[in-house]
Structure formats: structure tokens, C-alpha cells
């Protein structure tokens, strides 16, 4: 790191005589630094992007003779709260892209707790990625839109249906003029209006088997499963679980049971969807309530959480291990949906027995 600078979003403040808080007030980001003789606070003040690491160390040596000031500096540099004010801007992104994704870059800098060469690393990963979005309903429309807006380099959309009037309460890529048009065609047109710097493709197609799904996802980085049909033979989610495991591809699946929105994030090497199902069944949970009621907000949250899961898998930011289901319950704000079951040893997909 050439010229360390405390990230502006992580501005430290003193929380006690010998403690410093940094990273704001957000759980998962904020930290407390124990600072027994004031050196951490002094180091953070010096890390304003105007001096290099060595100069910071020398200033601290003069103020705190005999102390391990280098240890303090290196601990802070590794903490994720500090960035390099001299970080290079990557050549792969031209001025237009840097403008388009400037808020992404600020966001990633904020939430990324790994020291990076520059704040554009997660954006470059998105740009190099290819995602298949299967299903262009309420969940799929929002997911595909968010992935396109965020700058995923290649997005492939798949759906067999045409736009109907009853879709317009939630399927935000479509308008009245699209009624009767293939969803994929309308979605592609809208997404290309939003972001012409990425590759957006699609096919009007119904996936009828695990083999077809395997073929569809070959070569992609993440599958966003936004369809819940067919439900026969264990359903499309089981196909997704198996096809993804066989290909070593992570996947995210989302949906809703009325007001309860939940999204699963799965990847090879972690507890899989079938472990989640089996464990839930053993605990007496009924997992499938397929009724048509849905509103713009429930569909939107579902699709956006799917996109969030995809972005997390693609960028590694935040560092959350896959193998969990999370969501919200819109009739009970105090009910945070979150389940992480262990992998079952006898699982045919992820088990090791």
C-alpha cells in the first residue's frame, strides 16, 4: 500500500479512553480497536492519504519511542478499514464505465474488508462473469435487472412464456406494450436500454430435465434460478442443485410464499439445497406453499436478494460462506429468515460418506 488512507465511510471515533470504533455502526463491518497507549488513534490520524507507510511509521516512532508501532500500522493496514490513496485505476474500465459504476465502486470499498490493490476489483470480477437467469417472472425480472445494472459482463435470460397483463403488477422489465410478446424478447430489449456495455442474450425455452439444465449452465459462473416449475421429479430446484454440483457451479434460488420471501445461496463444497430440504423435513417443516399471491414488493425483494446472492458469489464481497437460506417476512418485521443447516453425511449431492 503506497499511501494509506482510512476509508471515508469508515471514519473512526473514540468510543472510550482506550478504544476506537471504526467502520460506522453497521454489524458485520464495524470494529472496535483496543488502543492501550493511543498509538492506533494517532496512526489512523496520520493515514489520510498524504504520506506513505514508512512516513507514518517514523512519525509514530517519534511519538511512541520503544513501542511496536510497525505492528500497529500493519494491523490497521490489514484490517480492511484502510485503502490506498494512490491506488491505480484499472485500464479495463474506460471513463464511461468508471462513471456508470462509480457508486458501485464506493459501495464495494465500503463493504469490502479485504485489503485490495484498488477499489475496482469487485467490479472487474462482475465484468468478467457470466450468469444464467432462469425464469423471467417477478423474481427473474428484478434479478436480471439488478445484475445488468450492477455490470455483470454477460447475462443469459431464459423463459418460455409471453407477457400477460397479470404480470405487470410485479415484472418490472415489462410494460403494457409488451403484452403478448415473448418475455425474453421484451426483457432483453429493456435490459439493453439500461446497460449497453454488457452482453445480454436469451432464449425462449422451457427447461424439461436436469440434463437440459446442465447443458444450459455449462460455462457460466453462477445460475440464478428464478423459476419454480416444473415441480415433478423433485422439481427444478433439485435439478439445479444437482446440475450445479456436477458442473461445480454455484447457484442462487429465490421465491416467496405470500409475504415470506426467501433466497438460498449454494455452492460446491458447502451444504446443498437437498440437505436444506431434508433437514427441514426432519424438523417437520413444510417447504412448498405454491399459491399465486404476490405483489411488487415481495417479488422485488425476492429477485433483488437473488441478485445480491449472485453478486456475493461472483465478487466474494462480503465474505459469507454459501449454504444458507435467508429472507424477510413482510407480515412480521421482527422475523428475520435465516437458516444454515450442516451438510448431511448421506447426501447424494454434497455428502462425503
Amino acid at each position: 500500500m503506497r499511501r494509506p488512507r482510512v476509508k471515508p465511510e469508515h471514519q473512526p471515533y473514540r468510543s472510550g479512553e482506550r478504544t476506537v470504533r471504526i467502520g460506522g455502526e453497521i454489524y458485520g463491518l464495524a470494529s472496535e480497536i483496543s488502543d492501550p497507549y493511543g498509538c492506533a488513534w494517532a496512526a489512523l490520524e496520520l493515514m489520510d492519504g498524504s504520506r506513505d507507510r514508512q512516513t507514518v511509521v517514523e512519525c509514530l516512532r517519534r511519538r511512541f519511542p520503544g513501542r511496536d508501532v510497525e505492528g500497529v500500522v500493519d494491523t490497521l493496514l490489514a484490517s480492511g478499514h484502510v485503502e490506498d490513496a494512490d491506488a491505480p485505476v484499472p485500464e479495463q474500465l474506460d471513463a464511461r464505465q468508471r462513471a456508470r459504476y462509480s457508486r458501485n465502486a464506493d459501495y464495494f470499498r465500503w463493504i469490502d474488508l479485504r485489503p485490495r490493490e484498488h477499489q475496482w476489483e469487485p467490479q472487474l470480477r462482475l465484468r468478467r462473469s457470466r450468469v444464467v437467469v432462469l425464469g423471467m417472472g417477478g423474481t427473474g425480472c428484478h434479478a436480471a435487472w439488478a445484475l445488468a445494472a450492477a455490470g455483470v459482463g454477460a447475462i443469459h435470460c431464459v423463459d418460455p412464456d409471453e407477457v400477460e397483463l397479470s404480470n405487470l403488477n410485479r415484472q418490472m422489465l415489462f410494460g403494457e406494450a409488451d403484452i403478448g410478446r415473448a418475455k425474453v424478447e421484451a426483457a432483453l430489449a429493456r435490459m439493453r436500454e439500461i446497460n449497453s456495455d454488457i452482453e445480454i442474450t436469451g432464449e425462449i425455452r422451457r427447461i424439461g430435465s436436469q440434463e437440459e439444465l446442465s447443458e444450459l449452465i455449462a460455462g457460466c459462473d453462477v445460475l440464478a434460478l428464478c423459476a419454480d416449475e416444473p415441480r415433478v421429479q423433485g422439481g427444478i430446484r433439485r435439478w439445479a442443485n444437482r446440475a450445479s454440483a456436477a458442473a461445480g457451479i454455484p447457484w442462487v434460488g429465490g421465491g416467496y410464499a405470500g409475504p415470506q420471501v426467501s433466497v438460498g445461496v449454494f455452492a460446491p463444497g458447502y451444504p446443498c439445497f437437498e440437505c436444506f430440504l431434508a433437514e427441514g423435513k426432519e424438523r417437520g417443516h413444510v417447504t412448498d406453499f405454491a399459491w399465486p399471491g404476490v405483489i411488487a414488493t415481495s417479488a422485488g425483494i425476492s429477485g433483488l436478494l437473488v441478485a445480491q446472492g449472485v453478486i456475493t458469489l461472483l465478487t466474494g464481497v462480503p465474505e459469507v460462506p454459501p449454504g444458507y437460506v435467508h429472507g424477510v417476512n413482510l407480515v412480521a418485521p421482527d422475523d428475520r429468515v435465516y437458516v444454515r443447516y450442516p451438510s448431511r453425511g448421506d447426501c447424494v449431492v454434497c455428502g462425503r460418506d
Binding site: 455502526e25 454489524y27 472496535e32 492506533a40
Partner: protein, 43 residues
């Protein structure tokens, strides 16, 4: 949720040495607030 120490205590040093080390730990859930109170001041 257990807090997660990013920098563990250094081994084999005297207690006074240890007290000198700075330690960074992520805040627990109960130590943080949930109110963002901003739309980022960005257009």
C-alpha cells in the same frame, strides 16, 4: 453471535507486552444500530 477477533493475542509474550498490542474485533450485533438514516447523499 460471537465476536470474531481479527488479530489474535500474540503467543509467548509477557502479560504487559500483550496489553500493549492493539486488537481489532468486529462489533457484536447488539453493539450496532440498524438505522441507516441516509440515502447516501448521492444522485
Amino acid at each position: 453471535m460471537k465476536s470474531d477477533d481479527i488479530v489474535p493475542d500474540l503467543p509467548d509474550e509477557g502479560e504487559s507486552e500483550k496489553k500493549e498490542q492493539i486488537l481489532i474485533r468486529r462489533l457484536d450485533k447488539i453493539e450496532t444500530t440498524g438505522w441507516p438514516a441516509s440515502n447516501g447523499n448521492s444522485n
